[in-house]
Amino acid sequence: MRFATQSGGLWEERNLAQPSSADGYASVPSLLKRNAIQFAEKAAYREKEFGIWQTWSWSETETEIENLALGLINMGVNPGDHIAIIGRNRPYLYWSMVAAQMAGAVPVPLYQDAVADEMAYVLGHCGARFVIVSDQEQVDKVIEVQGELHQFEHMIYLDPRGMRKYDHSHLHEYSHVQEQGHAARDELRPEMERRIAELDYDSKCVMLYTSGTTGKPKGVVLSNRNIIEAAKSSAEFDNLRAGDEVLAYLPMAWVGDFIFSIGQAYWTGFCVNCPESAETLTTDLREIGPSYYFAPPRVFEGLLTQVMIRMEDAGRFKRNMFHYFMNHAKKVGPSILDGKPVGAMDRLKYALGNLTIYGPLKDSLGFGRVRVGYTAGEAIGPEIFEFYRSLGINLKQLYGQTEASVFITVQPDGEVRADTVGVPAPGVELRIAENGEVFYRSPGAFVEYYKNPESTADTKDPEGWVATGDAGFIEETSGHLRIIDRAKDVGQMSDGSMFAPKYVENKLKFFPNVLEAVLFGAGRDKCVAFINIDLTAVGNWAERNNIAYASYQELAGHPQVLDTIQSHVEEVNASVAQDEMLSGCQIHRFLVLHKELDADDGEMTRTRKVRRRIVEEKFDDLIDALYTGKAEQYTETEVTYEDGRKGSIKATLTMRDAKIVPVSTKVAAE
């Protein structure tokens, strides 16, 4: 159900009643100034480079950012310009975001692993005149598409490596821009101060493009109010403070990273640590030992799989000890974490386990000091969630989206469960529409979609209620929100029963062998599924059982692998059959895909969510084969390599039937 859209009168009245700053700070640059005085010599940023953690204090950070901002003004950045920022998490690029704001411009971070064409759309749409990139790889991508970008003027790059031979009429080195800014300091400083003073609580803070599960990405405009209010209330909720440490490793274009590494970091004054490279992440995580940590479920799943594989390889004594104490932790760990009463003997045993197993394990994972840990974005498997909590890691779930400046619901300490996403975050109002779609209203709710009033009006009504696009319900007993699926993915099967693919897919993905699953069945009489195996888990199993394989494709098609997956599917069917509403979603037939679903092929978003419709179109021959009951199907698939070249994979896939569990006497409500 959509609400009638009217002109924005009501919303503006509401705005008038809102505060015009938080404790007198109305923008990120003003928070930077505060921090440079209040936290002067405390660490603001760290980055590991040349094998050593390099540190910048808040006052050094202020100087660096100021020089860059002056340099940008010197180059002709105008207030209101969009400045695109592309690269991996590095202090310099975070400074670019704030420097852009100090020059009156709006930072637009982009996904660094996007291919040139994807970048071209966003760069063209936001009309960036200036682009700040990390290295030659990104420079090349922008140059490749610059012909299509009419407003593009200058590019600033960070790492000069390999850049000497480029035509430098539009290219500038980051450090030179800073030097020029510094040289022109006396002249340009008043202009910069004037531009900072003009920033108020309702001016644009940042524009973030949604990953675009459907269609083109949309530019979400977030104001200083959105970011600072969201950062402030969430920091208070979890008692984040100066002295906390975070590791910034998630894409800079993702709203979560902006809230953690800019919003909360500037509000509380905690330190943002940047890893040396993507490959050194685990070592860096361990060296830093963050106290506040965020990761999507996939990371926690991956780590758990690794731990389990390594424990399988350990000696018998160690293995037995691990299993003995983990069993105990499962029993009492979560209760101890939640501060519930636990017997003295159990506590003693847990303490012993902590000394021998949990402590060292947490330390080697880099979670030794985690005070607040969050996971979000997808459902997390209950076993995985419980594993970390039983170790004494305060892992919680939250539910959010770009349009909300992350926070919609969060789990308070002591009320943590695997199957809910928590209670409304401070300042957030929730409402469930008739069709089950979740709506919210909050100080963090976005301003608009850039240059897209129709979508804005579709998503946000004049009273400020924002549609999440997710279907869910509020549990009466606990007041927690539970999400079922994307509202538009929830459909009906031909007999009218409810079809909620995510619900079933998540159950499948909780098996370590299953990396990804896609369920089909809307408008049909039965459900079928595509499955991606997890190469790490299945590969390890194959090695253990002396099963030789030459490629992903061969392993995915191995009869014994299919047997294992079939048993998983049947277990899921049994569990789905328990649910009255969704028992129609049992999987009748399935196949194991010959390739991993990949963002480069457009099958997933950059945040690794399956693009259902594209998968459905691309593999329509396979879906047909599943429904027509064929035993095998030959297929050819186009794949895109990381450098943008294309190739194709050919395969003959085996289709399997899965056992269906009869639904109990009660018939699903129509």
Binding site: F50, G51, R161, G162, R164, K165, S277, E279, T280, T283
Partner: protein, 272 residues
């Protein structure tokens, strides 16, 4: 041989300088076997010079002559405008010539970092006892050298394996570590003996990229032996072709490609 002393700029904007090393009428024999027969060629400052030829042509022997491992019976090696006397390999290394090996020669039990540190040996002045005490001068020296090594590690993107023992690395990475060790010596001439042997396409592309970057970034002169013709033709400025110990061609990749002798040597020719 007409020594062209003038400098020029290549199509892709690199500066090629004067002749830095010249091999004059080199002949190398092992007993009755003539490995290299009366070969002359030069290497210019800043260029990528390839030596190619079929198996057993004498390419590696030639590289060993340059690095001072073999001493030719006849002929002279001129380096930086002076005739080089007969030298031991470590003396050659001290002159700024570093190399990698066809079959990897790393210390398998040592970490990547320690292996690359050994490349700095020619830059260290303190003795074993001072280094053992690790105090004062020795310590300052190690820190300065470690910094250089870290720059190389950063350059070749091997940070993630910094502390990994070399024995545990896959082949392609070992090759890269060898390159790192050679680079750590900050050579003016870098000799690469089949840097891409046994690699898959992706690894070859990475290695090519690094070789070009080394040449471009540090202006290092590079002499390399390689079998992959595609790689040689793409990378090098000039190519020497050897066959049965003789030089059968010398020139730009295009010239060499169209040289009838070279085509015969590679494709075979009917002997009447």
């Amino acid at each position: 041989m007409s020594a062209v002393a003038e400098e020029y700029i290549t199509e892709d904007g690199r500066k090629i300088g004067a002749v830095v090393m010249e091999m004059k009428n080199i002949t190398l024999k092992f007993g009755g076997v003539v490995a290299i027969q009366d070969i002359s060629f030069d290497i210019r400052q800043g260029e990528i010079r390839a030596i190619i030829g079929p198996n057993g042509a004498g390419k590696s022997s030639m590289l060993n002559v340059i690095s001072g491992f073999y001493h030719p019976q006849e002929g002279e090696v001129w380096y930086k405008g002076a005739r080089r006397p007969t030298m031991r390999p470590y003396q050659v290394a001290a002159q700024g010539i570093a190399r990698t090996f066809q079959n990897i020669a790393l210390f398998e039990g040592m970490s990547v970092l320690d292996n690359v540190m050994t490349g700095r040996l020619t830059h260290m002045n303190t003795n074993m006892f001072q280094q053992g005490l690790w105090y004062g001068k020795a310590r300052a020296e190690e820190i300065a050298n470690r910094q250089k090594v870290e720059e190389v590690i950063d350059f070749l993107e091997i940070q993630a394996i910094r502390k990994t023992p070399v024995g545990r690395l896959p082949y392609g990475l070992k090759k890269r570590v060898e390159l790192a060790r050679a680079l750590a010596a900050e050579p003016s001439i870098l000799l690469l003996d089949e840097p891409m042997a046994g690699m898959n396409v992706e690894e070859k592309e990475d290695m090519s990229r690094f070789i070009l970057d080394v040449n471009d970034e540090f202006g290092t002169t590079i002499a390399l032996i390689e079998h992959d013709m595609g790689v040689v033709m793409d990378l090098s400025d000039r190519v020497v072709v050897m066959d049965y110990g003789k030089k059968i061609g010398d020139g730009t990749p295009d010239e060499v490609r169209n040289n009838q002798d070279v085509i015969d040597a590679y494709l075979g020719v009917a002997h009447d």
